[in-house]
């Protein structure tokens, strides 16, 4: 099973929980997450399951202006 993480094809191991996926692939630092262009609040990471072909965007905040 694969997902698109910031447009890069990324395999998911047996673990489909979003929190575990982020722990492995997203690194540190604050970010916002969207699955198929729907924002997932941080409080939902542990109860969100990934599906094959999901498009996951990990978005870092930026402060310039």
């Amino acid at each position: 099973m694969n997902v698109l993480l910031n447009a890069q094809s990324t395999p998911i191991d047996s673990e489909r929980v979003l929190q575990k996926f982020l722990d492995k692939h997203a690194g540190n630092g604050p970010f916002a997450v969207a699955i198929n262009e729907q924002f997932i609040p941080k409080t939902d990471y542990t109860n969100t399951l990934l599906n094959d072909g999901d498009r996951i965007d990990v978005v870092s905040p930026m402060q310039g202006g």
């Binding site: 604050p30 262009e37 729907q38 924002f39 978005v59 905040p61 930026m62 402060q63 310039g64 202006g65």
Partner: protein, 378 residues
């Protein structure tokens, strides 16, 4: 003639809006009666304020405590060479009234603080975030939640930008609407985020993001649909991609609370300037220290930055400093510099850990050049 909403000049000035389908005289009247609070008069603020003023937004309040700097002119197109060293909001006001004398501009030459937020009150139709730091954005968020004001967020970094229209949910309405706020999306700010000064930004980017903000602002104020409401737009100017993410409120977020206490508004503490430590040098002190026999200057920037301009010293990029430390003398103090003082601060830390003596040019080459220019040394 005197009983009309617009003067003859205004009617002529706004004729392209008045002719525009689904905008028309009705939309233009709404713009004239609108009050917009713009926080920040820099890269984003320049295009947003120029277009809102040109479009005929009746009342614009500008808030910024910064002065115009030569390095702003690469992207802050509202300013000219003669504005350098002058207040951004006062320079902007002059330029905007030159563009459209039919509107009113309030220029507040202050930082957007909790005190100022309380003093400004809620007499606005829209707030536009054109700031360059996280802490002000969290305060804008809380200010808009408290006063139930819509606000348009944008931020930029190198080649990419983000934009969103946050509309605080009316908790007394029974439409079950639950819009996200900025804290829902980014509950934490990074500790070590770079701003435009240290990370760089392509000059057109604030123009592009600013015009997305201005576009949503004009639609919202004139009563047209605003598809950015409760969405986060991601724009990449390098690959020319645009994405729109649908937001939703986060359980337990501040925006879900019945009352918002602005006096207690806090944000993760992020400072744009590099931290001042015992081993940091002002430009004057750096100039004195570099003449000492027991010091050596190191430029820790990239090769292209060094080739582009430097003020002497050995060139060792920060990412090579660890492996090339054996080239350095253990007896002298190494005076490190970069563009903004952030990379050189890391270089100093690294050298100190390896047992060398090192000091940092605070504020980097940018600060050194500004200081030299102010003192007519260059």
């Amino acid at each position: 003639m005197s009983d009309t909403i617009f003067s003859a000049n205004e009617w002529l000035r706004y004729s392209r809006h008045i002719q525009l389908s689904s905008f028309g005289a009705d939309g233009q009247i709404k713009l004239k009666q609108s009050r917009v609070l713009m926080i920040g008069s820099g890269g984003l603020g320049a295009p947003v304020s120029l277009y809102l003023a040109a479009a005929g937004v009746g009342h614009i309040t500008l808030v910024d405590d910064d002065d115009v700097d030569l390095s702003n002119l690469q992207r802050q197109i509202i300013f000219s060479v003669e504005d350098i060293g002058k207040s951004k909001v006062f320079s902007a006001k002059k330029r905007l009234l030159g563009l459209n004398p039919e509107i009113e501009i309030d220029a507040i030459n202050q930082y957007f603080s909790i005190e100022l937020a309380l003093k400004l009150g809620d007499n606005f139709d829209l707030v536009i975030d054109c700031t360059d730091n996280f802490s002000t954005r969290y305060l804008i968020n809380d200010y808009c939640l408290k006063n139930r004001l819509p606000w348009i967020y944008a931020s930029i970094h190198q080649y990419s930008g983000q934009c969103a229209l946050f509309v605080p949910t009316n908790k007394h309405a029974d439409n079950n609407e639950s819009n996200a706020c900025f804290r829902c999306v980014f509950p934490d700010a990074p500790e070590d985020a770079q701003d435009c000064n240290s990370a760089g930004v392509i000059g057109v980017l604030p123009g592009m993001l600013g015009l997305f903000q201005a576009n949503e602002a004009l639609k919202l104020l004139s009563g047209l649909p605003t598809p950015l409401k409760n969405h986060l737009m991601l724009f990449d100017a390098k690959h020319l991609t645009l994405q729109k993410i649908t937001l939703k409120a986060s359980t337990g977020c501040l925006c879900q609370k019945a009352t918002i206490n602005l006096e207690q508004s806090t944000a993760p503490q992020v400072t744009c300037a590099s931290t001042t430590a015992d081993n940091s040098l002002t430009p004057d002190r750096f100039n004195l220290r570099r003449d000492d026999d027991n010091t050596a200057v190191i430029d820790v920037r990239s090769i292209s930055e060094h080739q582009g301009f430097h003020i002497g010293g050995t060139h060792i990029p920060l990412d090579q400093l660890g492996e090339r430390a054996d080239e350095l003398s253990p007896t002298v103090t190494h005076l490190c510099y970069c563009q903004s003082g952030k990379r050189s601060e890391k270089a100093v830390k690294l050298l100190l850990e390896k047992g060398f003596k090192a000091e940092n040019l605070d504020g980097g080459l940018a600060n050194w050049l500004k200081h030299a220019k102010d003192n007519n040394q260059i």
